[in-house]
Amino acid sequence: MKTIEEINEKIKKGQAVVVTAEEMLEIVRKKGESKAAKEVDVVTTGTFGPMCSSSIYLSFGHPAPRIKIGGGTCFLNGVPAYAGLAAVDVYLGATAVPPNDPGNLHYPGKFSYGGGFVIEELVNGKQVLLEATSYGTDCYPRKQLKSYFSLKDINEAVLFNPRNCYQNYNVAVNASDRMLYTYMGILKPNFGNANFCSAGILSPLLRDPEYYTTGIGTRIFLCGGIGYVIWHGTQHSPGVERTPEGVPKRPAGTLAVIGDLKQMNGDFIRGASFVGYGVTLVVGIGIPIPVIDEKVAAWCGVPLEKMCAPVVDYSSSYPERKPEVLAEVSYAELFSGTIKLGNKTISVGSLSSFLMARKIAETLKKWISEGKFELTEPVAKLPGRETGIRTKGFEIKEKKQ
């Protein structure tokens, strides 16, 4: 048993043993969990995939004369930002598209620009056009504002993501006879391909499946800067079915995270477009796992063969919100490049970049080894499986008489 305080002492002295989750799997396999837990102090994880529930809020500072954007309108490079906050605070979501985007009018739509791209451009230091209107008040007389700005010109810019880091996710297939354009990518007809989205053995919440060390207040790598876990993410569903090792067999836990956009690095945060679906943001997250005991090492030693994901038909089950799962496939199969469904062999594509996940885990390992990043004790636990919480559907209702 080690405390986080003891591990931090070692980090300060440059004596902590830090390995990536990929390396830890090998160490546990060779030496067993008890020896691995004694030898290793910190395991670093990483993930880099499209995460739609991502956003930023900005606070511009006040122009002279002042304007009350709050209650008015705001566009950033033509993309609508939410202006229902104070005078110069606005909120921009990753999936927002300009009002003149044709959407899926010419199916499948291209969705060539939107919130995710504005966020990426800001991180890369580019100038963005701010266009705001307001009704004008005695204290905020200006009715229009048009100006270019970059991150260094404004007071605050914060990445705030209500749901990231999905613990396990669907494998998407298409049972119909037409091409589908989804948030899981293009799905060819008649089970022509299968797409999944996970960093597997590097995935933060697959390595800490019971939220044993990750909790509210956990300091993390967020898109090249430092961020924090601030809550469980939306649709957090810890009560799903699990393997004997405690790893969820269905989409389960999620995290809400926050961090200073000004610290971030464009390599680890990217705007993205799914043809026929929309715009999103590819987010890079790395979470350190303090090896406080053997349990932590044991979870880090669960191999790909013992983790599985549900195969879901995106031509009917998903859009109709039916619970059917066609099959369960192991992550070993998914990472092999093909899965078998009945007697059909299906070629597998990944939405999550393993190369980038590895780069993130290695960067975090370097930060900790160099004493630049210390670990945190969670302020509060995330709701675990003991709560029985499972995300529920929305039932359409009439007004109560």
């Binding site: 499948p108 594509g349 980038m356 590895r358």
Partner: protein
């Protein structure tokens, strides 16, 4: 030796309404497979074609096209994956019908093998960061 040559053909306006390809396959013993075609009256036409046949004969046929003033480019030069943009996620790997994309197993980089590409364009549409571009 039997070869398959993938080419992008640009037809000048005055050739668009002529049965150039039909005439070509009658004259030479070759097979053709049209992968992409954009032919509009009074406009420059564009076609991506695979010619298959005896190496010598395919070359003669291509020369014949050039002499008819048809613009001719080997296809592989027109397809690019920009590794500065690519995140190496591998969504293209599952989409590609000819396995032209694969992971380098040690680095986990997504590699594009031009030789296997048939320009079906699925990867261009499917790439979420638009790292794959095709220029005619």
């Amino acid at each position: 030796m039997i070869i398959s040559e993938r080419v992008v053909l640009k037809f000048p306006k005055e050739l668009v309404d002529k049965p150039t390809i039909s005439a070509l396959v009658r004259k030479y013993d070759i097979e053709f497979n049209i992968l992409q075609a954009q032919v509009l009256p009074q406009k420059e036409g564009l076609m991506v074609v695979v010619f298959t046949g005896e190496e010598k004969i395919v070359k003669q046929a291509l020369n014949d096209l050039k002499n008819q003033n048809v613009g001719l480019q080997r296809l592989k030069q027109d397809i690019t994956k920009d590794d500065k943009i690519c995140t190496h996620c591998g969504v293209c790997i599952g989409l590609c019908p000819t396995n032209a994309f694969y992971y380098d197993q040690s680095t986990k980089k997504v590699i594009f093998d031009y030789e296997k590409c048939i320009t079906c364009m699925l990867c261009v549409k499917g790439c979420m960061v638009r790292a794959i571009k095709i220029k005619f």
